[in-house]
Symmetry: C2
Subunit: 726 residues, 2 copies
C-alpha cells in the first residue's frame, strides 16, 4: 500500500461518497473552524449572517459555543439547510471539568491515580455533551520541566511515563468505548510536538531539544494517547529547532500518521496557520495554507487561512487537492464516528442538560479528586492533621476566599458561585471544639500588606495559624510565563508576619506550578500543597486538615530551591562527573545549592507510615519479548487508613548512549488500613527500556536493567537487577 492508500483507508465510505460530490469550496469549508463566540461570551457571534455561512457549507466546526438548545438549532441548520447536510462539530476547551470543575491538570497528575483522572474526564464529557458539545481540546500531554512556563499547570508534569499513563486515562475518560454514545466526547491530544520546552520557559518560544529528547521524552504521551484511540490531535504553536509543528510534515504526517497509524483528525492551534508567516517560513497566506495542509493539519482553528487562501494555494500547486480530500474526508469521518450523521440530536436533550450538570455525585467525585491531588510537602511533629483537642485556629490569606483561583486556568462553564472556597470549607466542616477565625492578611493580586497588622492582632488569640498562600489563578496558564518562581512579595510578607507571631504556622499552598519556596519550608511546620483544587476545594481541604482523609498526592515535578535551579529533573543523564554532595569535587552541580531539589519528583508525605519489603523478581532473566515481573509487600505501619503511592524506577546501566540516572516505569496508588499489607506487582515489558536510534527505529538491548522501588525519586528503598537476553 502506498501512503495515500493507507490514508484513504482511514476515511469512511460516507466520507468518500461525499467527497465525490462536494465542491472545492465545500471541502475547504469543512476545514474551517470558526469562533462561535469569545471564550467568556459563548455563542455571541452566531448571528443570522453566520447561519448563512453554515447553509453555504463554509463552516466545519465551531469553538466557544455551548448549550443543548442553542447548538441544536444551529446543528439543524447545517443538517437540514446546507447542500450536503454535513453536521457541524462543536468544540470547547473542556480541560478539567465543564461545570463540575476538578483540580487543575497538574493537580490531577498529582493524584498518581489514572482511574481518578479517567473518572473526572468522563464526568466532563457527560456534562459537556449534555450541553451540545462534541469535542474538547484536551488532554494536554506536554511534558514540562521548566516551571517558568505558565502552561505547566495544564499538563501532567515532567515525566514521560506518568504523562503517558495520564494521557491514556483522559482519552479513555473523554471518549469511552463509543464516540457515538452521545455522552462521550472526542478528545484532542495536544500540543503535538515539543510545546513544553520553550527556550527559557517563555511561552510560544523555540524548543531546541535533540531528536532523542523529542522522541524519548516529549512524544511518549502522544504515542500512548494514539494507542488509546485519541480521535484528534492539535499541533503546537511553536517550532522545534526552527520547524513549527504546524508545518512539520515529518512529525505530523510522518510520525503520527505513517509510523503510528493514526487515522483521525488534526487541528491547528488558535490562528497558528497564519502565524507561520511570523515564524518566517511562509511567504504569504496561501503559502502558509500549503505548508500546514501538506504537513497534515486538517482543520484551521480560526485563522481563516484555509477558508480564504487555500484555493489560491491549490491554484499554485494542484497536487494539494489530494491533501484537501484527505483533510475533508477525515473531518467528515470523525463527524460520522460521533454519530452526527445519524443521531445528532443526542447532544441536544435539554432535560438532560438541566439534570446532569453539577450533580451531587459529580461534586462528590470532584471532592475526592481534590483530596487525592493534595501533596503534603512537609509535616514536622505531625502538625497536620489538626488534633481533635479544642483549639482556636486563625486562617489567614486572601486566597482562602478566592473562589476564582480554585477554578484555575481553563474553567469552561465553571462558576465561582459554585465553588466551596477554603475558608467556608474549613468553617463548615470544623469538628466540635475547633474554632475558626479568619483574616484576609495579604492578597497575591497586589502588594498591599496593610492587612498584616490584623493578622498579628488576631493571632494573639489563636493557638495556631493556618496560612493560605501562593499564586493566584492568573499567574499560570497560557502566556503566563514567569521569570520568578518565588511566591509574590505580599505572600512572602504574610508568611513572615505569621512566623513573627511565634504561633505554629501551617501552610495551605495554592499554585499552578512548581515554586521555589525555601522560606516557606523553613518557616512552616507543615505545608499542604493543594494546587488549585476545583469546585470542591474547601471541602477537600477540610477533609485533609481535619484528618478525615490522609493526603497521598505525589509531586509530578520537582520543586526547586531557587528559580535558577530549574530546569532540573531526577531523570537527567549522569554525565562523566555525576553530581556529588561533596562540594570540593568538580561535579555536575551548582556551587551555591544542594544537588537535590527542595522537594523531589514523586515526593509526598502521609498521616500514616508504610514499610516496604525488598523488591523481588519473578525471574532475573527475561528475553526481549518476555515480561518482567516485580513485587513488593507494602504495610501500613501507622495508626490511620491511608493511601500510598508505590513507585518503580529503572536504570539502564550500559547502552550505546548515556541513559537517564533513573526513569519512572511503574506506580500504584493503594489504600491500606492500619497494619494491612498489600502485595504490589508490576508487570513490565523490556520494550519499556527501548532506546531511540532513529525515526521508527528503537533498540531493545541485552544487558542489565536495575529496578528500584521507593517513596520518591529521591527515596529509594531496594532494588533488583534483571538481565535482558536477546
Amino acid at each position: 500500500v502506498t501512503q495515500n492508500d493507507a490514508a484513504m483507508a482511514c476515511l469512511s465510505e460516507r466520507a468518500k461518497n461525499l467527497l465525490a460530490v462536494m465542491s472545492v469550496e465545500e471541502k475547504i469549508g469543512q476545514l474551517h473552524q470558526a469562533a462561535g463566540g469569545r471564550s467568556k461570551n459563548l455563542n455571541s457571534k452566531l448571528t443570522p449572517e453566520e447561519l448563512d455561512k453554515v447553509r453555504r457549507g463554509e463552516i466545519g466546526s465551531y469553538l466557544h459555543v455551548a448549550g443543548a438548545k442553542e447548538l441544536g438549532e444551529l446543528q439543524k441548520v447545517a443538517i437540514e439547510e446546507s447542500t450536503h447536510g454535513i453536521p457541524l462539530l462543536f468544540a470547547m476547551d473542556v480541560v478539567h471539568g465543564y461545570k463540575t470543575i476538578f483540580p487543575v491538570p497538574l493537580g490531577m497528575a498529582s493524584t498518581w491515580e489514572p482511574a481518578m483522572w479517567e473518572s473526572a474526564s468522563k464526568i466532563a464529557a457527560e456534562e459537556s455533551t449534555a450541553s451540545g458539545l462534541h469535542w474538547t481540546f484536551a488532554p494536554m500531554v506536554d511534558i514540562a520541566r521548566d516551571p517558568r512556563w505558565g502552561r505547566i499547570v495544564e499538563g501532567a508534569g515532567a515525566d514521560p511515563y506518568l504523562g503517558s499513563v495520564m494521557a491514556v486515562a483522559q482519552v479513555k475518560g473523554f471518549q469511552g468505548n463509543d464516540l457515538a454514545a452521545g455522552n462521550t466526547m472526542l478528545a484532542t491530544t495536544k500540543h503535538l510536538g515539543v510545546y513544553g520546552a520553550p527556550t527559557g520557559g517563555r511561552d510560544y518560544g523555540t524548543s531546541d531539544v535533540s531528536e532523542r529528547t523529542v522522541h524519548e521524552i516529549y512524544m511518549p504521551p502522544f504515542y500512548a494517547a494514539n494507542a488509546a484511540g485519541s480521535g484528534s490531535y492539535m499541533t503546537a504553536f511553536n517550532d522545534i529547532a526552527g520547524i513549527p509543528t504546524t508545518a512539520n510534515e515529518e512529525l505530523v504526517d510522518g510520525v503520527l500518521r505513517e509510523d503510528w497509524g493514526f487515522c483521525g483528525m488534526i487541528v491547528s492551534d488558535w490562528n497558528a496557520i497564519d502565524e507561520l508567516r511570523n515564524h518566517g517560513i511562509a511567504a504569504d497566506r496561501p503559502h502558509a495554507a500549503a505548508l500546514a495542509l501538506k504537513a497534515g493539519v486538517d482543520m484551521d482553528m480560526t485563522s481563516e487561512v484555509y477558508k480564504n487562501d487555500l484555493a489560491e494555494a491549490i491554484k499554485r500547486d494542484p497536487s494539494l487537492m489530494a491533501d484537501l480530500d484527505l483533510a475533508a474526508g477525515r473531518i467528515i469521518t470523525i463527524k460520522e464516528k460521533l454519530g452526527l450523521f445519524d443521531n445528532a440530536m443526542a447532544y441536544h436533550d435539554e432535560a438532560r442538560e438541566a439534570s446532569q450538570l453539577l450533580t451531587p455525585a459529580n461534586r462528590a467525585e470532584a471532592r475526592k479528586a481534590a483530596q487525592m491531588a493534595a501533596v503534603l510537602l512537609k509535616n514536622d511533629n505531625n502538625a497536620l492533621p489538626l488534633s481533635t483537642e479544642p483549639q482556636r485556629v486563625l486562617v489567614a490569606g486572601a486566597l482562602a476566599q478566592d473562589a476564582l483561583t480554585q477554578l484555575g486556568s481553563w474553567r469552561a462553564r465553571g462558576d465561582v458561585n459554585d465553588v466551596v472556597n477554603i475558608i467556608d470549607g474549613l468553617k463548615n466542616n470544623a469538628p466540635e471544639g475547633i474554632e475558626i477565625d479568619y483574616v484576609v492578611g495579604a492578597d497575591p493580586y497586589n502588594d498591599d500588606v496593610s492587612g498584616l497588622s490584623d493578622l498579628t492582632e488576631k493571632a494573639a488569640n489563636a493557638d495556631r495559624i493556618l496560612l493560605v498562600l501562593g499564586e493566584h489563578f492568573d499567574l499560570s496558564g497560557e502566556a503566563r510565563s514567569r521569570s520568578d518562581l518565588e511566591i509574590p512579595p505580599s505572600q512572602q510578607a504574610m508568611l513572615q508576619a505569621a512566623i513573627d507571631t511565634g504561633k505554629p504556622v501551617s501552610v495551605i499552598l495554592v499554585t499552578g506550578r512548581a515554586l521555589a519556596i525555601p522560606e516557606v519550608d523553613a518557616g512552616a511546620d507543615a505545608i499542604l500543597n493543594i494546587w488549585m483544587g476545583g469546585i470542591e476545594t474547601g471541602n477537600a481541604v477540610a477533609d485533609l486538615v481535619y484528618g478525615k482523609v490522609s493526603p497521598a498526592g505525589r509531586l509530578p515535578i520537582s520543586f526547586p530551591h531557587k528559580t535558577g535551579q530549574a530546569p532540573f529533573t531526577y531523570s537527567e543523564n549522569p554525565g562523566g562527573r555525576p553530581a556529588d554532595p561533596d562540594i570540593t569535587k568538580d561535579t555536575n552541580r551548582f556551587m551555591d545549592l544542594p544537588i537535590t531539589p527542595l522537594y523531589a519528583f514523586g515526593h509526598g508525605l502521609s498521616y500514616s507510615s508504610f514499610e516496604y519489603s525488598d523488591l523481588s523478581a519473578a525471574s532475573n532473566q527475561v528475553t526481549a519479548d518476555g515480561s518482567i515481573e516485580l513485587s513488593v509487600q507494602v504495610t501500613n505501619t501507622g495508626d490511620v487508613a491511608a493511601d500510598e503511592v508505590v513507585q518503580l524506577y529503572m536504570r539502564d546501566k550500559l547502552s550505546f548512549v548515556a541513559r537517564p540516572k533513573l526513569e519512572l516505569r511503574g506506580f500504584k496508588r493503594i489504600s491500606l488500613e492500619p497494619n494491612q499489607t498489600a502485595n504490589v506487582t508490576f508487570t513490565l515489558s523490556p520494550q519499556q527500556a527501548a532506546v531511540y536510534k532513529s525515526r521508527n527505529n528503537w533498540a531493545v538491548e541485552s544487558g542489565e536493567l536495575e529496578f528500584f522501588i521507593g517513596h520518591s525519586a529521591q527515596d529509594l528503598t531496594s532494588s533488583q537487577t534483571i538481565e535482558i537476553t536477546t
Copy 2:
C-alpha cells in the same frame, strides 16, 4: 581515496617510518599524557621513577610542567635515552597569558578587536615557549548563553560569529605562521562538541540541543579555528543528547576530520576517557579506550586508560591497531611540526626565559587590552570620566585590592605580586586635585558587612563614591556553576550603604559572567564593567576613570534583569507570536519582565558620541557565489577621541526553517578623533547565510537578506535589503 588513506596522508614521513619500527607499547606510550605536577605545583611529579618511564617510551606528553631548564633536561632524556628518541610534548593551560596575564577571555571578547586578542595570544606564546612549553589548551571557543555556567568566563560569549572571529585570532596569535619557530605554540581549540550548553547551566551536564543548533551555533568557532590551522583540538567532558563527545565518532572523526579535513591531533579532557564509564556507555576501561580511540581521540589526558587498558582493547578488537597507528602518527607528526625532532632546545633557552617574560612592552599590551575590554554599561549625566576639578573620591570595596581576582580563572604563571590592583592604579595615576581615599567596605568572599560603617563614615568627607563590587575569581570558572546571577549579599549591602550616603555612586563592576544587577543599574549613576582585567587592571581602570581613554568594550552576552531571564539571546527565532512590549497580548515573553535584557548583546557606551549614515550597498542583487558589500559612514560627534564598534546584523526573512531574528555578521572597532569620519565597509559572502540541512550539507537560498547597522543588537540605526539570486 578511502577515509583511511586521507587520514594516513596527514602523517609525516618520519611518523610513518617510526610507526614501522615501534612496538605496540611504544605507540600507546605516545598516546599518554601525564601530569608532571599539580596545576599549582608544577613539575612536582617528575621523579627519577618518572624519568624511567620516559626512557621506556611510556609518555607522550606532560602537562602541569614549566621551566626552560627543567623541561630541557627532561626533553634530553626523551631524545637521548629513549629507544626511538621521540621528543616529549609539554603542555599547560595558558589561557589568557602566561606570566603577563591579560583580561579573562570573556573580557578579551568584549574588546571586539581580534587584533588585540591575537596580540595577547602571541605574547602568551612567546612567554610560554621561553619557559619550555609547546602546547596550550586554548582557545576555548565554547559558545555560552547561560551565565549560570561557570566556564562562561573562559570563552567569547554567546555569539557564533563573534566567537569564530575570536577563535581565529587566538589560533593565529598562538601558532603564528610557523609552529617550528620556537616562539610559537600549538593551540588546542576546545571543547569540541557542545560543552557550553549543559542542562541548567550545571557544568559537565548534558547538552540537549538540536542537531541544527549543534552545527549552526556551537560548531562555527571550531570550523573557523580549523580553517585558521588549529593544530589540535580537545573533546568536551559532556554528552550531546547522550553521546559523550569523547566517544562521538560522527563528530570527531566524522565532522572534524572527514568533513573539514582536519589533520592534527585530538586530546581528551582531564580523565575524560575513564569517565566514559560514568556516562554509562563503557562497560570497563578497555571498552572506554576502544570508544575514544575509534571516535578519533588521539591522546589520553591523565586517565591512563590508553596506557593501561588499550592493549586489552586491541586484544578484543584487533582492528583498533589501525586507529592506534593513526593516533600515534598524528602525535609524532605534530611534534615534528613543532620542530622537536630537529631543534627541541629552541624551547629551552634560559637567557630568553629570563629576559622575555613580563617585559614592559608586554605589560603595556596587557594594559591596552584591559582598557579595550572594559564595557561602560551605564553613564548618566556623564558621571564618568571623573571631571578634572579637584574632588575627594572614596573608593570602596575589597575587590579594589584583590589582586588574585584580577588574574581570573586559569592564571598560568601569573603572580598576584605582579598585579596592579585597582586601588593602587587609581592612587598612582590620580591627576592633580583628585584625592583618593579607600575603604574596604564589604568582601565578596564572605557575608561580613561590618566594614560598611567605615564606608558611611568616610563618605561624609567625600564628593563621590567609586564602588568596586562584583564576583571574586572563584565564583566563575570550571565547576563554578551558580544558580544565582546576582552579586553576593555583601556586595548588595555595600551598594545599599553607598546609596544611603546620598553621595553620587559610580560602580566598577568585577565579574567573570553576565550578572543580574537591576539594583546596581537603579542605584549607580555609572557602571564600568571591567570583568577581571589581568595584571594591569589598576592602571587600565585609572586610564578609563580619569578619561585618558574612552571605554569602547561591547558585551559579548546580554545581562539579564533576573536570574530567571537566562538563557536569553538577541538571536532567538521569532516564533509565531514574537515578543511584544504590550503585555495584554499573548506573546513570547515573561509576564513579570520587559522583553529585553537589562543590557543587550553588543551594548557599551562611550565618552564620545557617534553618528551613522544610512547603510548603503554596492549592489542590491548578488549571486550566491558573489560578494555583498555594505558601507556606512561613522562620525565622532563628541568632544574626545574614542573607539566605536560598528556592528552589522543580518535577518533571513524567509527560509524552509525559522531563522533567528538577528544574526551578527560583521563588526569593526575603529578609532576616531572628534569630528573625524570613517567609511566602514563590510564584505560578506552569501555563504554566511547558509542554513544547515544535514551533515556537510548547507543551503544558500535565493531571496532577501536584510542587513542592519547599529550600536548593539537592540539599537539598530538603518537597514539594507540584498537579494540573493541563485
